[in-house]
Protein backbone atom coordinates (compact mmCIF):
# COMPACT_ATOMS: atom_id res chain seq x y z
CA UNK A 1 0.00 0.00 0.00
CA UNK A 2 1.10 3.55 -0.67
CA UNK A 3 2.55 5.43 2.27
CA UNK A 4 -0.09 7.77 3.69
CA UNK A 5 0.38 11.51 3.35
CA UNK A 6 1.16 12.86 6.80
CA UNK A 7 1.76 16.45 5.82
CA UNK A 8 -0.51 19.25 6.83
CA UNK A 9 -0.67 23.02 6.65
CA UNK A 10 -1.85 24.94 9.65
CA UNK A 11 -1.99 28.71 9.87
CA UNK A 12 0.07 28.74 6.70
CA UNK A 13 2.80 26.72 8.36
CA UNK A 14 3.67 23.65 6.36
CA UNK A 15 4.32 20.65 8.62
CA UNK A 16 5.60 17.32 7.30
CA UNK A 17 3.46 15.63 9.93
CA UNK A 18 0.86 16.90 12.39
CA UNK A 19 2.92 16.25 15.52
CA UNK A 20 4.49 18.97 17.60
CA UNK A 21 5.29 19.67 21.25
CA UNK A 22 3.66 21.79 23.91
CA UNK A 23 5.55 24.95 24.75
CA UNK A 24 8.09 24.42 27.51
CA UNK A 25 8.05 20.64 27.41
CA UNK A 26 10.88 19.97 24.99
CA UNK A 27 14.44 21.28 24.94
CA UNK A 28 16.31 23.38 27.48
CA UNK A 29 19.18 25.85 27.65
CA UNK A 30 19.30 25.73 23.86
CA UNK A 31 19.67 21.94 23.86
CA UNK A 32 17.31 20.12 21.51
CA UNK A 33 17.22 16.58 20.27
CA UNK A 34 18.55 14.89 23.38
CA UNK A 35 16.63 11.74 22.49
CA UNK A 36 15.73 12.06 18.78
CA UNK A 37 16.30 14.63 16.04
CA UNK A 38 14.03 17.62 16.46
CA UNK A 39 13.38 17.39 12.71
CA UNK A 40 11.25 14.30 13.42
CA UNK A 41 8.36 16.53 14.41
CA UNK A 42 6.26 18.62 12.07
CA UNK A 43 6.95 21.85 13.94
CA UNK A 44 8.75 22.85 17.11
CA UNK A 45 7.00 25.03 19.66
CA UNK A 46 9.63 26.53 21.94
CA UNK A 47 9.54 27.54 25.56
CA UNK A 48 7.60 30.74 26.18
CA UNK A 49 9.70 33.88 26.34
CA UNK A 50 9.02 37.32 27.76
CA UNK A 51 10.34 40.76 26.87
CA UNK A 52 12.31 40.82 30.14
CA UNK A 53 14.24 38.60 32.53
CA UNK A 54 12.06 36.64 34.95
CA UNK A 55 13.21 34.24 37.69
CA UNK A 56 10.14 31.98 37.68
CA UNK A 57 8.34 30.69 40.73
CA UNK A 58 9.84 29.52 44.02
CA UNK A 59 10.29 25.79 44.64
CA UNK A 60 8.83 23.30 44.97
CA UNK A 61 7.55 23.66 41.42
CA UNK A 62 6.36 20.15 40.64
CA UNK A 63 4.17 17.66 42.43
CA UNK A 64 3.00 14.33 41.07
CA UNK A 65 -0.70 13.49 41.15
CA UNK A 66 -2.41 10.32 39.93
CA UNK A 67 -1.89 10.23 36.14
CA UNK A 68 -0.62 13.76 36.03
CA UNK A 69 1.62 16.58 37.06
CA UNK A 70 0.74 19.54 39.24
CA UNK A 71 3.23 22.30 38.62
CA UNK A 72 3.94 25.98 38.72
CA UNK A 73 7.21 26.82 37.05
CA UNK A 74 6.28 30.43 36.33
CA UNK A 75 7.87 30.71 32.87
CA UNK A 76 11.40 31.72 33.90
CA UNK A 77 13.15 33.66 31.18
CA UNK A 78 16.56 35.12 30.41
CA UNK A 79 16.80 38.64 29.12
CA UNK A 80 16.33 39.35 25.42
CA UNK A 81 20.03 39.94 24.68
CA UNK A 82 20.88 36.55 26.13
CA UNK A 83 18.14 34.95 24.03
CA UNK A 84 19.49 36.58 20.87
CA UNK A 85 23.12 35.68 21.63
CA UNK A 86 22.56 32.16 22.93
CA UNK A 87 19.28 30.66 21.71
CA UNK A 88 18.77 32.27 18.33
CA UNK A 89 21.93 30.82 16.69
CA UNK A 90 20.89 27.35 17.85
CA UNK A 91 17.30 27.78 16.67
CA UNK A 92 18.58 29.00 13.29
CA UNK A 93 20.35 25.68 12.80
CA UNK A 94 17.21 23.57 13.26
CA UNK A 95 15.60 22.30 10.09
CA UNK A 96 12.05 22.42 11.33
CA UNK A 97 9.40 25.18 11.37
CA UNK A 98 9.71 26.94 14.72
CA UNK A 99 6.76 28.49 16.48
CA UNK A 100 7.97 30.82 19.22
CA UNK A 101 5.69 31.03 22.24
CA UNK A 102 5.49 34.42 23.97
CA UNK A 103 3.81 35.94 26.99
CA UNK A 104 3.48 39.36 28.62
CA UNK A 105 1.88 40.92 31.67
CA UNK A 106 0.36 43.76 29.68
CA UNK A 107 -0.72 44.30 26.08
CA UNK A 108 2.39 46.40 25.55
CA UNK A 109 4.68 43.62 26.74
CA UNK A 110 2.99 41.13 24.39
CA UNK A 111 3.26 43.52 21.46
CA UNK A 112 6.91 44.24 22.22
CA UNK A 113 7.94 40.58 22.32
CA UNK A 114 5.88 39.76 19.21
CA UNK A 115 7.57 42.57 17.33
CA UNK A 116 11.07 41.52 18.41
CA UNK A 117 10.48 37.86 17.54
CA UNK A 118 9.03 38.84 14.22
CA UNK A 119 12.07 40.95 13.34
CA UNK A 120 14.45 38.04 13.93
CA UNK A 121 13.12 36.46 10.76
CA UNK A 122 13.67 32.88 11.93
CA UNK A 123 10.21 31.87 13.12
CA UNK A 124 7.43 30.21 11.16
CA UNK A 125 4.84 31.53 13.59
CA UNK A 126 4.22 33.04 16.99
CA UNK A 127 2.10 31.50 19.70
CA UNK A 128 0.50 33.93 22.13
CA UNK A 129 0.22 32.31 25.54
CA UNK A 130 -2.91 34.04 26.77
CA UNK A 131 -2.85 32.42 30.21
CA UNK A 132 -1.45 35.45 31.93
CA UNK A 133 -3.39 37.66 34.32
CA UNK A 134 -4.17 41.01 32.74
CA UNK A 135 -2.69 43.09 35.54
CA UNK A 136 -4.20 46.31 34.23
CA UNK A 137 -7.72 44.90 34.08
CA UNK A 138 -8.43 43.21 37.39
CA UNK A 139 -6.09 40.26 36.97
CA UNK A 140 -8.35 37.97 34.90
CA UNK A 141 -6.33 36.01 32.35
CA UNK A 142 -6.41 37.56 28.87
CA UNK A 143 -7.53 34.19 27.61
CA UNK A 144 -10.61 34.09 29.84
CA UNK A 145 -11.90 37.46 28.69
CA UNK A 146 -13.34 37.74 25.15
CA UNK A 147 -12.81 41.48 25.05
CA UNK A 148 -9.26 41.55 26.43
CA UNK A 149 -8.19 38.66 24.20
CA UNK A 150 -9.68 40.39 21.16
CA UNK A 151 -7.78 43.62 21.81
CA UNK A 152 -4.57 41.80 22.58
CA UNK A 153 -4.64 39.62 19.46
CA UNK A 154 -5.62 42.63 17.35
CA UNK A 155 -2.58 44.56 18.52
CA UNK A 156 -0.32 41.54 18.05
CA UNK A 157 -1.83 41.10 14.56
CA UNK A 158 -0.83 44.67 13.70
CA UNK A 159 2.69 44.03 15.00
CA UNK A 160 3.56 41.03 12.82
CA UNK A 161 2.92 39.41 9.48
CA UNK A 162 3.83 35.97 10.88
CA UNK A 163 1.09 33.43 11.51
CA UNK A 164 -0.36 34.05 14.97
CA UNK A 165 -1.59 31.24 17.15
CA UNK A 166 -3.66 32.08 20.21
CA UNK A 167 -3.18 29.56 23.03
CA UNK A 168 -6.17 29.20 25.30
CA UNK A 169 -6.73 27.53 28.64
CA UNK A 170 -9.79 25.38 29.25
CA UNK A 171 -12.88 27.27 30.28
CA UNK A 172 -16.42 25.97 30.70
CA UNK A 173 -18.18 29.27 30.22
CA UNK A 174 -16.66 31.62 27.66
CA UNK A 175 -14.29 29.44 25.67
CA UNK A 176 -16.22 29.56 22.39
CA UNK A 177 -16.65 33.32 22.68
CA UNK A 178 -12.95 33.79 23.36
CA UNK A 179 -12.12 31.52 20.41
CA UNK A 180 -14.36 33.57 18.14
CA UNK A 181 -12.88 36.79 19.50
CA UNK A 182 -9.32 35.81 18.73
CA UNK A 183 -10.38 34.53 15.32
CA UNK A 184 -12.11 37.82 14.57
CA UNK A 185 -9.05 39.72 15.78
CA UNK A 186 -6.90 37.94 13.22
CA UNK A 187 -5.47 34.85 14.87
CA UNK A 188 -4.53 32.29 12.23
CA UNK A 189 -4.95 29.32 14.54
CA UNK A 190 -5.96 28.42 18.06
CA UNK A 191 -3.96 26.21 20.35
CA UNK A 192 -5.63 24.47 23.28
CA UNK A 193 -5.61 23.52 25.99
CA UNK A 194 -3.06 25.25 28.11
CA UNK A 195 -2.76 23.50 31.48
CA UNK A 196 -5.72 24.42 33.70
CA UNK A 197 -5.22 25.95 37.13
CA UNK A 198 -5.04 23.51 40.00
CA UNK A 199 -4.02 23.21 43.62
CA UNK A 200 -2.84 20.44 45.91
CA UNK A 201 -2.89 20.85 49.67
CA UNK A 202 -0.79 18.80 52.06
CA UNK A 203 -3.28 17.34 54.53
CA UNK A 204 -0.63 17.30 57.26
CA UNK A 205 0.30 20.98 57.07
CA UNK A 206 -3.04 22.03 55.51
CA UNK A 207 -1.04 24.33 53.20
CA UNK A 208 -0.64 24.31 49.40
CA UNK A 209 2.18 22.00 48.32
CA UNK A 210 3.89 23.94 45.56
CA UNK A 211 5.77 27.16 46.10
CA UNK A 212 3.42 29.39 44.12
CA UNK A 213 0.44 27.81 45.94
CA UNK A 214 -1.63 27.93 42.74
CA UNK A 215 -0.36 25.88 39.85
CA UNK A 216 -1.55 23.98 36.84
CA UNK A 217 -2.54 20.42 36.08
CA UNK A 218 -1.18 18.58 33.07
CA UNK A 219 -0.70 15.05 31.82
CA UNK A 220 -3.04 12.15 31.20
CA UNK A 221 -5.43 13.35 33.90
CA UNK A 222 -6.67 16.27 31.78
CA UNK A 223 -7.06 14.51 28.43
CA UNK A 224 -10.84 13.95 28.25
CA UNK A 225 -11.44 17.55 29.30
CA UNK A 226 -8.96 18.78 26.69
CA UNK A 227 -10.54 16.66 23.93
CA UNK A 228 -13.91 18.17 24.82
CA UNK A 229 -12.53 21.72 24.63
CA UNK A 230 -11.06 21.05 21.17
CA UNK A 231 -14.37 19.54 20.10
CA UNK A 232 -16.28 22.60 21.27
CA UNK A 233 -13.93 25.16 19.72
CA UNK A 234 -13.92 23.25 16.42
CA UNK A 235 -17.66 23.90 16.24
CA UNK A 236 -17.24 27.59 16.96
CA UNK A 237 -14.43 28.71 14.63
CA UNK A 238 -13.03 28.08 11.17
CA UNK A 239 -9.36 28.62 11.96
CA UNK A 240 -7.37 25.42 12.51
CA UNK A 241 -6.61 24.06 15.97
CA UNK A 242 -3.46 22.75 17.64
CA UNK A 243 -4.84 20.20 20.12
CA UNK A 244 -3.10 19.15 23.30
CA UNK A 245 -3.60 18.08 26.88
CA UNK A 246 -2.44 14.68 28.15
CA UNK A 247 -1.36 13.29 24.78
CA UNK A 248 0.57 10.06 25.33
CA UNK A 249 0.48 8.01 22.15
CA UNK A 250 -0.92 7.74 18.61
CA UNK A 251 -4.38 6.87 19.90
CA UNK A 252 -4.53 10.21 21.65
CA UNK A 253 -3.34 11.93 18.47
CA UNK A 254 -6.23 10.38 16.57
CA UNK A 255 -8.65 11.33 19.33
CA UNK A 256 -7.61 14.99 19.26
CA UNK A 257 -7.69 15.08 15.47
CA UNK A 258 -11.14 13.53 15.43
CA UNK A 259 -12.27 16.19 17.90
CA UNK A 260 -11.07 18.82 15.44
CA UNK A 261 -7.33 19.37 15.87
CA UNK A 262 -5.24 19.73 12.70
CA UNK A 263 -1.99 19.34 14.61
CA UNK A 264 -1.39 17.67 17.98
CA UNK A 265 1.17 18.51 20.64
CA UNK A 266 2.97 16.21 23.05
CA UNK A 267 3.48 17.95 26.37
CA UNK A 268 4.05 16.57 29.84
CA UNK A 269 4.64 13.06 28.47
CA UNK A 270 7.98 14.34 27.11
CA UNK A 271 9.20 14.47 30.71
CA UNK A 272 8.29 10.87 31.36
CA UNK A 273 8.62 9.06 28.05
CA UNK A 274 10.87 11.21 25.87
CA UNK A 275 10.45 8.91 22.84
CA UNK A 276 6.65 9.18 22.90
CA UNK A 277 6.44 11.50 19.87
CA UNK A 278 8.59 9.53 17.39
CA UNK A 279 6.89 6.31 18.46
CA UNK A 280 3.46 7.86 17.96
CA UNK A 281 4.50 9.01 14.50
CA UNK A 282 5.37 5.45 13.52
CA UNK A 283 2.21 4.05 15.05
CA UNK A 284 0.05 6.73 13.42
CA UNK A 285 1.50 5.82 10.03
CA UNK A 286 0.68 2.17 10.61
CA UNK A 287 -2.84 3.07 11.76
CA UNK A 288 -3.49 5.11 8.62
CA UNK A 289 -2.21 2.29 6.42
CA UNK A 290 -4.26 -0.34 8.21
CA UNK A 291 -7.38 1.77 7.92
CA UNK A 292 -6.84 2.71 4.29
CA UNK A 293 -6.58 6.42 5.06
CA UNK A 294 -4.36 8.12 2.50
CA UNK A 295 -4.28 11.61 3.98
CA UNK A 296 -3.91 12.29 7.69
CA UNK A 297 -6.11 15.38 7.33
CA UNK A 298 -9.09 13.09 6.82
CA UNK A 299 -9.01 12.51 10.57
CA UNK A 300 -9.68 16.15 11.38
CA UNK A 301 -13.15 16.62 12.81
CA UNK A 302 -14.15 12.98 12.26
CA UNK A 303 -16.02 12.96 15.55
CA UNK A 304 -18.41 15.66 14.30
CA UNK A 305 -21.23 14.81 11.99
CA UNK A 306 -23.15 18.03 12.39
CA UNK A 307 -20.49 20.71 12.18
CA UNK A 308 -21.88 22.82 9.33
CA UNK A 309 -25.28 22.94 10.90
CA UNK A 310 -23.83 24.11 14.18
CA UNK A 311 -21.47 26.61 12.64
CA UNK A 312 -24.26 28.73 11.19
CA UNK A 313 -25.81 29.90 14.44
CA UNK A 314 -22.33 30.24 15.86
CA UNK A 315 -21.37 32.56 13.01
CA UNK A 316 -24.52 34.58 13.50
CA UNK A 317 -23.76 35.06 17.16
CA UNK A 318 -20.30 36.28 16.25
CA UNK A 319 -21.60 39.66 15.06
CA UNK A 320 -23.15 40.67 18.33
CA UNK A 321 -20.69 39.11 20.71
CA UNK A 322 -17.33 40.20 19.47
CA UNK A 323 -16.28 43.52 20.89
CA UNK A 324 -14.64 45.95 18.54
Amino acid sequence: MRAPDLSTTIAGIRMKNPLTVGSGTYGHHGVFGQFYPVETMGALVTKTIRSHRWPGNPPPRVHEVPSGLHSSVGIPCNDWDYFVAHDVPILKGLKVPIIQSVIGRTEDEYVEIVRRCSELGIFAGIELNLSCPNTKQGGVDFGYDPEASFHLVKRARDATKLPLIAKLAPDYSLLSRVAKSVEAAGADAISLVNAPRAMCIDYRTRKPIIGNRVGALSGTAIKPMAVYMVWEVYRAVRVPIFGMGGVTDYRDVIEFMAAGARAVAFGTINYVDPMALPRALEDLTTYLQENGIEDVNELVGAAHDDRDELLIPAENRLESEVPV
Binding site: G24, T25, Y26, G27, H28, H29, V31, Q34, F35, P55, G56, P58, P59, P60, R61, V62, H63, E64, V65, P66, S67, G68, L69, S71, V73, P76, G219, T220, T268, N270, Y271, V272, D273, P274, M275
Partner: protein, 265 residues
Protein backbone atom coordinates in the same frame (compact mmCIF):
# COMPACT_ATOMS: atom_id res chain seq x y z
CA UNK B 1 22.88 10.74 28.60
CA UNK B 2 20.59 8.17 27.09
CA UNK B 3 17.51 6.09 27.68
CA UNK B 4 18.32 2.46 28.41
CA UNK B 5 16.06 -0.51 28.91
CA UNK B 6 18.29 -2.32 31.36
CA UNK B 7 17.93 -5.96 32.38
CA UNK B 8 17.29 -6.33 36.07
CA UNK B 9 19.82 -8.53 37.87
CA UNK B 10 17.97 -8.29 41.17
CA UNK B 11 15.67 -5.98 43.12
CA UNK B 12 15.55 -6.89 46.78
CA UNK B 13 15.47 -5.63 50.32
CA UNK B 14 18.81 -4.15 51.38
CA UNK B 15 18.58 -3.07 55.00
CA UNK B 16 16.18 -1.06 57.14
CA UNK B 17 13.82 0.92 54.92
CA UNK B 18 16.00 0.45 51.85
CA UNK B 19 15.88 -1.70 48.74
CA UNK B 20 18.64 -2.38 46.26
CA UNK B 21 18.10 -2.59 42.50
CA UNK B 22 20.90 -3.91 40.30
CA UNK B 23 20.63 -3.57 36.54
CA UNK B 24 22.84 -4.40 33.57
CA UNK B 25 23.38 -1.15 31.67
CA UNK B 26 26.94 -1.17 30.31
CA UNK B 27 26.91 2.11 28.37
CA UNK B 28 25.34 4.01 31.23
CA UNK B 29 27.49 2.39 33.92
CA UNK B 30 30.69 2.96 31.97
CA UNK B 31 30.14 6.68 31.53
CA UNK B 32 28.71 7.45 34.96
CA UNK B 33 30.70 9.77 37.19
CA UNK B 34 30.43 9.76 41.01
CA UNK B 35 27.45 11.83 42.14
CA UNK B 36 25.52 11.65 38.89
CA UNK B 37 22.03 10.19 38.96
CA UNK B 38 19.57 8.16 36.91
CA UNK B 39 15.84 8.62 36.42
CA UNK B 40 13.89 5.39 36.73
CA UNK B 41 10.58 4.29 35.26
CA UNK B 42 8.82 0.99 35.63
CA UNK B 43 8.89 -0.03 31.98
CA UNK B 44 5.65 0.73 30.17
CA UNK B 45 3.80 1.50 33.40
CA UNK B 46 1.54 4.54 33.67
CA UNK B 47 1.94 4.53 37.45
CA UNK B 48 3.66 6.24 39.03
CA UNK B 49 3.21 8.97 36.43
CA UNK B 50 6.66 10.49 36.83
CA UNK B 51 10.06 8.85 36.86
CA UNK B 52 11.92 8.59 40.14
CA UNK B 53 15.43 10.09 40.30
CA UNK B 54 18.07 8.20 42.28
CA UNK B 55 21.76 8.57 42.85
CA UNK B 56 23.73 5.55 41.73
CA UNK B 57 24.83 3.51 44.71
CA UNK B 58 27.54 1.46 43.10
CA UNK B 59 28.96 0.51 39.74
CA UNK B 60 30.35 -3.00 39.26
CA UNK B 61 34.10 -3.42 38.82
CA UNK B 62 33.65 -4.36 35.15
CA UNK B 63 31.43 -1.25 34.78
CA UNK B 64 28.60 -3.19 33.19
CA UNK B 65 26.12 -3.10 36.07
CA UNK B 66 24.90 -0.39 38.39
CA UNK B 67 23.05 -0.43 41.67
CA UNK B 68 20.44 1.93 43.04
CA UNK B 69 19.68 1.95 46.76
CA UNK B 70 16.23 3.42 47.32
CA UNK B 71 14.11 4.15 50.32
CA UNK B 72 10.58 2.82 50.18
CA UNK B 73 8.69 6.01 50.96
CA UNK B 74 5.40 6.10 49.09
CA UNK B 75 3.35 4.67 46.29
CA UNK B 76 6.02 5.08 43.60
CA UNK B 77 8.87 3.39 45.41
CA UNK B 78 6.38 0.83 46.74
CA UNK B 79 5.45 -0.06 43.16
CA UNK B 80 9.15 -0.29 42.31
CA UNK B 81 9.58 -3.06 44.89
CA UNK B 82 6.72 -5.10 43.43
CA UNK B 83 6.93 -4.30 39.70
CA UNK B 84 10.65 -4.30 38.88
CA UNK B 85 11.52 -7.99 38.82
CA UNK B 86 14.62 -10.10 38.44
CA UNK B 87 15.26 -10.87 34.74
CA UNK B 88 12.77 -8.19 33.75
CA UNK B 89 13.68 -4.74 32.47
CA UNK B 90 13.66 -1.26 33.89
CA UNK B 91 13.63 1.99 31.96
CA UNK B 92 16.57 4.21 32.92
CA UNK B 93 17.64 7.65 31.73
CA UNK B 94 21.17 8.65 32.63
CA UNK B 95 23.78 9.49 33.57
CA UNK B 96 22.27 12.82 34.57
CA UNK B 97 23.62 15.99 36.11
CA UNK B 98 27.02 17.01 37.38
CA UNK B 99 28.74 14.89 39.98
CA UNK B 100 31.40 15.31 42.65
CA UNK B 101 34.86 16.67 41.94
CA UNK B 102 38.00 15.42 43.63
CA UNK B 103 40.75 18.03 44.02
CA UNK B 104 43.94 17.15 42.18
CA UNK B 105 46.54 15.71 44.59
CA UNK B 106 43.95 15.13 47.32
CA UNK B 107 45.28 12.73 49.94
CA UNK B 108 42.39 12.51 52.37
CA UNK B 109 38.66 13.28 52.12
CA UNK B 110 35.71 13.04 54.47
CA UNK B 111 32.26 11.92 53.34
CA UNK B 112 29.34 12.79 55.60
CA UNK B 113 25.89 11.37 55.00
CA UNK B 114 22.57 10.86 56.66
CA UNK B 115 19.81 8.39 55.83
CA UNK B 116 19.29 7.79 52.14
CA UNK B 117 21.74 10.62 51.49
CA UNK B 118 24.48 8.11 52.29
CA UNK B 119 23.58 6.28 49.07
CA UNK B 120 25.06 9.11 46.97
CA UNK B 121 28.53 8.65 48.47
CA UNK B 122 29.90 5.14 47.73
CA UNK B 123 30.64 5.86 44.04
CA UNK B 124 32.73 8.82 45.19
CA UNK B 125 34.48 6.71 47.81
CA UNK B 126 35.24 4.05 45.20
CA UNK B 127 36.72 6.62 42.83
CA UNK B 128 38.75 8.26 45.60
CA UNK B 129 40.07 4.93 46.85
CA UNK B 130 41.11 3.96 43.32
CA UNK B 131 43.27 7.10 43.27
CA UNK B 132 44.84 6.18 46.60
CA UNK B 133 42.94 8.80 48.55
CA UNK B 134 42.05 8.08 52.20
CA UNK B 135 38.26 8.06 52.65
CA UNK B 136 36.88 8.79 56.12
CA UNK B 137 33.16 8.20 56.47
CA UNK B 138 30.79 9.81 58.96
CA UNK B 139 27.37 8.24 58.70
CA UNK B 140 24.16 9.08 60.48
CA UNK B 141 20.69 7.56 60.44
CA UNK B 142 17.55 7.14 62.48
CA UNK B 143 18.23 3.48 63.29
CA UNK B 144 21.18 1.17 62.86
CA UNK B 145 19.64 -0.87 59.98
CA UNK B 146 19.18 2.42 58.09
CA UNK B 147 22.92 3.04 58.06
CA UNK B 148 23.24 1.95 54.43
CA UNK B 149 26.65 1.33 52.91
CA UNK B 150 28.28 0.66 56.28
CA UNK B 151 29.81 -2.47 54.76
CA UNK B 152 31.12 -0.55 51.75
CA UNK B 153 32.81 2.17 53.78
CA UNK B 154 34.27 -0.42 56.15
CA UNK B 155 36.24 -1.77 53.14
CA UNK B 156 38.34 1.37 53.07
CA UNK B 157 39.99 0.40 56.34
CA UNK B 158 39.53 3.75 58.07
CA UNK B 159 37.27 3.68 61.09
CA UNK B 160 33.69 4.60 60.11
CA UNK B 161 32.07 6.99 62.54
CA UNK B 162 28.36 6.41 62.95
CA UNK B 163 25.47 7.98 64.77
CA UNK B 164 21.93 6.71 65.17
CA UNK B 165 19.09 8.65 66.71
CA UNK B 166 18.01 5.59 68.72
CA UNK B 167 21.41 5.44 70.49
CA UNK B 168 21.14 8.81 72.13
CA UNK B 169 24.50 8.61 73.84
CA UNK B 170 26.25 8.79 70.47
CA UNK B 171 28.07 11.98 69.66
CA UNK B 172 27.06 13.78 66.47
CA UNK B 173 29.10 12.74 63.44
CA UNK B 174 29.91 16.37 62.72
CA UNK B 175 31.48 16.74 66.19
CA UNK B 176 33.58 13.67 65.46
CA UNK B 177 34.56 15.11 62.08
CA UNK B 178 35.48 18.49 63.60
CA UNK B 179 37.61 16.75 66.25
CA UNK B 180 39.44 14.63 63.69
CA UNK B 181 39.91 17.63 61.40
CA UNK B 182 41.91 19.27 64.22
CA UNK B 183 44.42 16.42 64.03
CA UNK B 184 44.62 15.56 60.34
CA UNK B 185 44.25 17.60 57.17
CA UNK B 186 41.28 16.84 54.90
CA UNK B 187 41.51 18.04 51.30
CA UNK B 188 37.76 18.05 50.70
CA UNK B 189 34.45 17.39 52.41
CA UNK B 190 31.35 15.84 50.84
CA UNK B 191 27.92 15.81 52.41
CA UNK B 192 24.45 14.53 51.56
CA UNK B 193 21.14 13.92 53.28
CA UNK B 194 20.67 16.53 55.99
CA UNK B 195 20.52 20.31 56.26
CA UNK B 196 22.07 20.21 59.72
CA UNK B 197 25.00 18.15 58.50
CA UNK B 198 25.37 20.46 55.50
CA UNK B 199 25.56 23.56 57.69
CA UNK B 200 28.07 21.96 60.04
CA UNK B 201 30.26 20.66 57.22
CA UNK B 202 30.08 24.01 55.45
CA UNK B 203 31.13 25.87 58.60
CA UNK B 204 34.06 23.51 59.13
CA UNK B 205 35.09 23.77 55.48
CA UNK B 206 35.07 27.56 55.65
CA UNK B 207 37.08 27.58 58.85
CA UNK B 208 39.71 25.29 57.36
CA UNK B 209 39.52 26.77 53.85
CA UNK B 210 38.76 23.38 52.34
CA UNK B 211 36.33 22.81 49.43
CA UNK B 212 33.06 21.18 50.39
CA UNK B 213 30.42 19.73 48.07
CA UNK B 214 26.86 18.69 48.68
CA UNK B 215 24.53 16.46 46.68
CA UNK B 216 21.05 17.99 46.61
CA UNK B 217 17.61 16.54 46.15
CA UNK B 218 14.51 18.17 44.73
CA UNK B 219 11.24 16.92 43.28
CA UNK B 220 11.74 16.48 39.55
CA UNK B 221 9.50 15.92 36.58
CA UNK B 222 12.00 15.06 33.83
CA UNK B 223 15.51 15.03 35.32
CA UNK B 224 17.12 16.10 32.03
CA UNK B 225 16.57 19.85 32.01
CA UNK B 226 13.38 20.32 30.03
CA UNK B 227 10.77 20.97 32.72
CA UNK B 228 12.59 23.55 34.90
CA UNK B 229 10.72 22.01 37.82
CA UNK B 230 13.58 21.01 40.13
CA UNK B 231 15.05 24.39 41.01
CA UNK B 232 16.50 25.37 44.35
CA UNK B 233 17.60 28.82 45.45
CA UNK B 234 21.36 29.14 45.01
CA UNK B 235 23.83 31.78 46.20
CA UNK B 236 25.63 33.23 43.20
CA UNK B 237 28.72 34.19 45.22
CA UNK B 238 30.43 32.75 48.31
CA UNK B 239 29.75 36.02 50.12
CA UNK B 240 26.03 35.48 49.41
CA UNK B 241 23.73 38.32 48.53
CA UNK B 242 22.43 37.69 45.02
CA UNK B 243 20.52 34.45 44.57
CA UNK B 244 19.06 32.60 41.61
CA UNK B 245 16.92 29.55 41.02
CA UNK B 246 18.93 26.73 39.48
CA UNK B 247 17.79 23.32 38.29
CA UNK B 248 19.19 20.53 40.46
CA UNK B 249 19.19 18.16 37.47
CA UNK B 250 21.20 20.48 35.24
CA UNK B 251 23.49 22.50 37.51
CA UNK B 252 23.62 19.80 40.22
CA UNK B 253 22.80 17.54 41.86
CA UNK B 254 26.25 18.32 43.32
CA UNK B 255 26.82 21.92 44.39
CA UNK B 256 29.47 23.69 46.45
CA UNK B 257 28.11 23.96 49.99
CA UNK B 258 28.41 27.77 49.86
CA UNK B 259 26.00 27.78 46.94
CA UNK B 260 23.16 26.20 48.89
CA UNK B 261 23.71 26.59 52.64
CA UNK B 262 21.48 29.46 53.84
CA UNK B 263 20.37 30.15 50.29
CA UNK B 264 16.63 29.65 50.63
CA UNK B 265 14.91 32.60 49.01
Amino acid sequence: MEQVFASVVFNRHLTGDYWLLEAEAPALAASLLPGQFVNVRIEGSAAPYLRRPFSVYRVSRDRRRLQIAYKVMGEGTGLMTSSIRENGRCDLIGPLGHGFSLPANAKRIAVVGRGIGIAALPTLADEAASRGIEVHAFLSARTRPNLVALDIFAEYAFPVVTHTDEARANALVTDALAALAQKVRFDAFYVCGSNRLARAVHALAQKQNVPAEIAMEQHMACGFGDCHGCVIAVNLRPSRGEKAFKEVCHYGPVFQTWEVVDASA
